[in-house]
């Protein structure tokens, strides 16, 4: 069956070759049924009625034809088959003729090729014979020239020898000339080393011996001169280098040379260091002069940039050239002994180390001098320049790490700088405090509050935060991206986290809180109370806004991501909150005590036994209300009002009055029974809440005022208990208490508190009265309202 399929395919190929239309027809049958399976093909193949099929059975087909079709149809079909047969026949004929022509032309071509190859073979044979001729000629020429060539080479050898001899004989004179006249020691050494071998070889011949002796003499002289040049203090480093190099070529012991060279280096490095030291001394003198007299003297010392430049250009350049030359001289020579190499390297390293440390010390001292003056950017640039130079030098000496010191100096300078800024911040804070104090004093005299305290507070707060921001942005110079050491881990992390955040920002904030604390424990001289208020508000402001803002700012500006081991915001916030609390409590205490003093004086100095019938509220009570009003205004500027315990004000006042009337009635009835009164007051106390007099207050106006009122009233109570009252004395107190009740309720968050305290005052004065007769409440009201 597969064969059948194959065949169909072949047939189709043939068809495609001969006629495209047929292919299309066949292809169509295939294409139209792409999913047609093999079985259907088989059916198609086996169809004995298909005229194109191989299994075509003419008999069957005919039978079928005759059976199925009508006569005209059969006739048509016959015509058609005849037509088809004719067409196929003609096609076959054309095919055969075409292929025949092609075959004939191919036969012609093959015949042509055969004749061409024959010609080519003949020419190749010719070529081979020519080549063999050439080879024989060549051999002949070679043998002819052989003797002459050896002669020439012998002659040139003799010539060389003669030249050498002449050189040797002329050597002493030449050397002398080089050494004495031209000072070109290098040439002399070069020639000598060249000749030395020969001289050594022919030592036995006296002529040569003499020459050698002469040469050696000259060379000794030369050596002396070279040593002299090394020791000479003003000789150039290049000369020294050359001398050492020449001497080593002359076979001087390397050890001796290196020691000598080392000494020389030390001398020159010392010189450089001394120059720097001198400059430091100059600077000190300058500063002293400036301190002594401010005359604009010409500054002779270098500024920090110049100093660093100078150091880099002289000392560091020298150092690096020393390292370079030493390495090339003593360390990189292949022929030198390993032992010596190691030793020399060791020597060099210790030397460099020692001088490096000396230099570091100088630089450090210089930066120390600079810490309190000078521009930040200049210092940063100086450090940067220094650090870069060290990095380049460091690459030249693989065994010593100079960068540790360099980075430690960078860190040290940053540390100094941070401390310097901390001091600046501190003094700024102290200055603004003094300023604040002046301003507050001024306001105190003008007596027109007009939101001035708030403005003062705002401006102070602003200037403090601005100052911190300035300092932070200044310090950012240290971690600017173009600064070589800024990104190094050993610099960046300690600088950002420890120095800037902890040692500067956190330390400063702590300092503020600390200073505020000092104000609150009365260790300062008496301060204006408004200052306490402002300070307390400032602390609160820091706690709620500024700490978070500043720390976040610092974290962002200095890219502090690792938050381990740093002071957190909460800790600082608590610190400030505590300070604010202490301050506000102290404020309450100070104001309360002021008013207390007034009350105490007024109660103590009066003769309560011999007083006239009260016609008026005592002046001191009015003064107290006035004071409280002004405190209310002052506090109200900076703190929010706070919540009052809700209670109808009118009703409470009425209650007081009615209670008072009731009691006065009760007193009149049972004036003699002290026990009853005591019982009454005790029962009252049982129900009254305990009142903490100097208690903690909250950060709002009501609470602050309540604190002051409590202190005031408690003082009043205690003073009254020390006195004895007549009838009119008692009535005066009654009037005063009513007056206070009328005005004090508005200041406090719990009116009941005022009520309880005033009640107790009145009770106590009743107890301390020799002739208890209270005034009629109507009269009391009249008197109080008349004020």
């Amino acid at each position: 069956m597969t064969e059948d399929i194959e065949r169909i395919k072949k047939k189709n190929l043939l068809l495609s070759y001969y006629n495209q239309d047929d292919l299309l027809a066949a292809g169509d049958s295939n294409r139209n049924l792409p999913a047609m399976s093999d079985s259907e093909v088989q059916i198609h193949l086996r169809d004995p009625y298909d005229i194109n099929s191989s299994s075509f059975e003419p008999d069957l087909f005919l039978k079928k034809l005759i059976k199925e079709k009508t006569l005209p149809e059969i006739m048509d079909f016959e015509n058609e088959v005849a037509k088809e047969t004719r067409r196929l026949d003609s096609e076959m004929q054309t095919l055969v003729s075409e292929n025949y022509n092609k075959f004939i032309s191919a036969t012609d071509t093959i015949r042509q090729m055969r004749s061409d190859f024959k010609k080519m073979e003949d020419e190749m044979e010719n070529l081979v014979s020519f080549m063999s001729d050439i080879t024989t000629f060549n051999d002949k020429i070679n043998t002819t020239f052989q003797p002459k060539r050896s002669e020439i080479s012998r002659l040139s050898g003799i010539n060389n020898l003669l030249k050498k001899l002449q050189f040797v004989f002329e050597l002493p004179a030449k050397l002398n000339e080089f050494v004495e006249k031209e000072h070109s020691y290098a040439k002399a050494v070069f020639y000598f080393t060249k000749a030395k071998k020969t001289l050594d070889h022919y030592k036995k011949m006296s002529t040569f011996k003499n020459i050698e002796n002469d040469c050696l003499l000259i060379i000794e002289n030369l050596k002396e001169k070279l040593y002299g040049r090394i020791d000479m203090s003003d000789s150039k480093p290049n000369d020294i280098l050359e001398s050492v190099d020449l001497l080593s070529q002359l076979g001087e012991p390397i050890e001796q040379l290196s020691t000598k060279y080392m000494n020389r280096i030390e001398k020159s490095l010392d010189q450089d260091l001394n120059a720097l030291k001198l400059d430091l001394d100059l600077l000190a003198i300058d500063q002293k002069n400036q301190k002594d007299n401010n005359s604009g003297k010409v500054q002779s010392a270098m500024d920090i940039l110049e100093f660093v430049d100078h150091g880099c250009n002289n000392f560091l350049a020298n150092l690096s050239s020393v390292i370079e030359s030493f390495t090339s001289l003593f360390l990189n020579q292949k022929n030198s002994d390993f032992k010596y190499t190691d030793e020399n390297e060791e020597k060099l390293n210790t030397l460099i180390r020692a001088y490096w440390l000396k230099y570091c010390d100088l630089v450090r001292i210089r930066f120390e001098v600079e810490q309190n003056l000078g521009e930040n950017t200049i210092i940063v640039r100086a450090v940067d320049r220094f650090y870069r130079r060290i990095q380049t030098i460091n690459k030249q000496i693989p065994n010593i790490d100079l960068s540790t010191e360099a980075s430690s100096i960078a860190l040290y300078v940053a540390h100094l700088r941070v401390n310097f800024y901390l001091e600046i911040l501190k003094s700024h804070f102290n200055e603004s405090l003094i300023d604040l104090r002046h301003q507050v004093a001024l306001i105190g005299t003008s007596n027109q509050p007009d939101k001035k305290l708030l403005n003062l507070h705002d401006s102070t707060f602003k200037s403090l935060t601005e100052q911190i921001k300035n300092v932070l942005s200044n310090l950012q110079a240290f971690i600017a991206s173009d600064i070589s050491f800024s990104a190094k881990v050993y610099f960046n992390e300690p600088f950002c986290k420890t120095y800037v955040r902890e040692n500067l920002l956190v330390a400063y904030l702590k300092f503020i809180a600390q200073t505020a604390n000092e104000y609150s424990n009365g260790s300062h001289d008496p301060v204006p109370s408004a200052l306490l208020l402002i300070l307390s508000r400032l602390c609160l402001e820091f706690e709620s806004v500024a700490i978070d803002y500043l720390l976040t700012l610092a974290d962002e500006q200095f890219f502090i991501n690792n938050k381990s081991g740093i002071t957190n915001k909460k800790e600082l916030g608590d610190l400030f909150r505590d300070s604010a609390k202490l301050l506000i409590n102290y404020y309450v205490k100070v104001r309360g005590i002021n008013i207390s003093q007034m009350i105490r004086k007024s109660v103590e100095t009066r003769d309560w036994l011999n007083t006239i019938e009260p016609r008026n509220v005592r002046a001191v009570m009015k003064r107290i209300v006035e004071d409280l009003t002004s405190i209310d205004l002052q506090v109200g500027e900076l703190f929010e009002a706070g919540i009052r315990k809700e209670k109808g004000s009118d009703s409470s006042r009425n209650t007081f009055m009615t209670r008072q009337t009731q009691r006065s009635a009760a007193w009149n009835l049972g004036a003699n029974s002290g026990v009853d009164s005591k019982l009454m007051s005790n029962i009252q106390k049982l129900f009254a809440e305990k009142i903490e007099i100097f208690s903690q207050v909250d950060f709002n106006k009501m609470s602050i005022l309540t604190g002051i009122v409590k202190i005031t009233l408690k003082t009043f109570l205690e003073c009254i208990r020390l006195k004895t009252f007549s009838k009119y004395g008692l009535q005066q107190i009654q009037v005063d208490c009513h007056y206070l009740q009328m005005y004090l309720w508005r200041f406090v968050n719990d009116e009941n508190l005022v009520f309880v305290l005033l009640e107790e005052i009145l009770n106590s004065s009743i107890n301390r009265c020799t002739d208890v007769q209270l005034m009629e409440s109507r009269v009391v009201e009249l008197i109080c309202e008349a004020v």
Binding site: G522, I593, S596, Q597, R600, L609, N610, A671, N672, G674, V675, K678, S681, N682, K685, K690, E692, I693, F694, S695, K714, E718, R721, T724, S726, N767, R768, C769, T770, D771
Partner: protein, 371 residues
């Protein structure tokens, strides 16, 4: 709560400020309290406390002369005491006087607490001065010092019926200062007293009647009371209206040695314990009594600690200063506190509402001091 820490409370009928411990008594813990009432007859209560039974006996005496501001038991004769009192005579004059009284030899202390029968006191003598603000007994002799508003009087009372004025001095300073309180310094042969006026504490030498030291502004405000350390000379405690207790060395008066802030209102009374002088009591108008142990300024600043590991080697360890306890049993201002003269672990405090409370030093502290 431990049993011994339950306070014993005794109520007086009237308001009272004056309290003292009966001196020159060795067995019975007795306190004297004087009342303040303008309308009734004032009383002196003699109170006897038995700490084993935690019970109390009392004896009430009438004090007809007036309301008592100060009371003081004689260190020589346990039956004698003085009172400073206001005597009111209608219509409106008040005299402040000081009298010496004597209790009956035989006391009938068996009166039950609810009985109110009163006894009379034997009036010995009045101090012959116009105004008497405060009085103190001479510790080891028969003398008293009494203050008027601006003068000090030193009397000899050997003949108890007739005080002899030995010497007097007048306080002269700006602004008509008034004396408020005084204390005897039991060191230096009892030749020194200290007085308070306004914020100043002044020391006086009784022989020359000259001022011998002054602490000008000992407190920011009024100084209410002072007490000398009974066992360590030169040391003085003071309290005042600034709610602070301060300790002084009277040789260095420009700066206090230590300041305590245990109270939230004026402190009216301060007392050193006569035996263990690190214990200091203060009473305040914040209704509280504070007991502090100030070892660093006491006569026994170090404690001997036996190191058991190291062959019973002993070493001295500095005791820390601390607040031992705040007693909050009073409901009115506490104007006076007093240690018992018999048992150094017992003290009494008196508030204005007439509540006398007898307390003990907490056992823990007691053992810490003793052991």
């Amino acid at each position: 709560m431990l049993e011994d820490e339950i306070p014993f409370i005794y109520g007086l009928e009237y308001q009272s400020r004056a309290l003292c411990s009966q001196l020159n008594e060795t067995d019975i813990k007795r306190f004297l309290v004087g009342t303040q009432t303008l309308k009734n007859i004032n009383q002196v209560h003699l109170i006897e406390y038995d700490d084993e039974l935690n019970s109390l006996k009392k004896c009430i005496f009438e004090h007809k002369n007036g309301e008592i501001w100060q009371i003081g038991s004689s260190p020589q004769n346990k039956l004698q005491f003085f009172t400073c009192y206001n005597s009111f005579s209608p219509p409106n004059t008040i005299q402040t006087k000081c009298s010496i009284w004597e209790l009956p030899e035989v006391l009938d202390m068996s009166i039950p607490a609810d009985d109110s029968s009163h006894f009379s006191l034997k009036h010995l003598v009045d101090l012959p001065q116009q105004v008497c603000i405060s009085t103190i007994w001479e510790p080891n002799a028969k003398g008293v010092v009494s203050l008027s508003e601006n003068s000090i009087y030193y009397y000899d009372l050997i003949d108890s019926s007739e005080p002899k004025l030995i010497s007097s001095a007048k306080l002269e300073a700006k602004g008509q200062p008034k004396f408020t309180n005084c204390k005897w310094n039991s060191h230096h042969n009892n030749s020194q007293i200290a007085t308070c006026n306004d914020t100043a504490i002044r020391g006086w030498d009784l022989k020359s009647m000259k001022q011998c030291f002054v602490i000008e502004s000992s407190h920011n405000q009024f100084v209410r009371d002072i007490d000398f350390n009974p066992n360590k000379q030169y040391y003085l405690a003071s309290v005042g209206d600034d709610c602070k207790t301060k300790f002084w060395d009277i040789r260095k008066t420009n700066e206090s040695l230590k300041t305590l802030t245990n109270h939230s209102h004026w402190i009216w009374s301060v007392r050193y314990n006569s035996v263990h002088d690190q214990l200091v009591l203060t009473g305040s108008s914040d209704n509280k009594v504070a007991l502090s142990a100030i070892s660093s300024l006491s006569s026994e600043p170090f404690k001997t600690v036996v190191n058991e590991e190291n062959d019973n080697e002993t070493k001295l360890v500095a005791e820390p200063d601390k607040l031992v306890k705040i007693y909050e049993d009073h409901e009115d201002s506490v104007y006076s506190v007093e240690w018992s003269s018999v048992d150094p672990w017992i003290f009494a405090s008196l508030s204005y509402d007439g509540r006398l409370i007898i307390n003990k030093v907490p056992k823990e502290e007691k053992f810490r001091i003793l052991l």
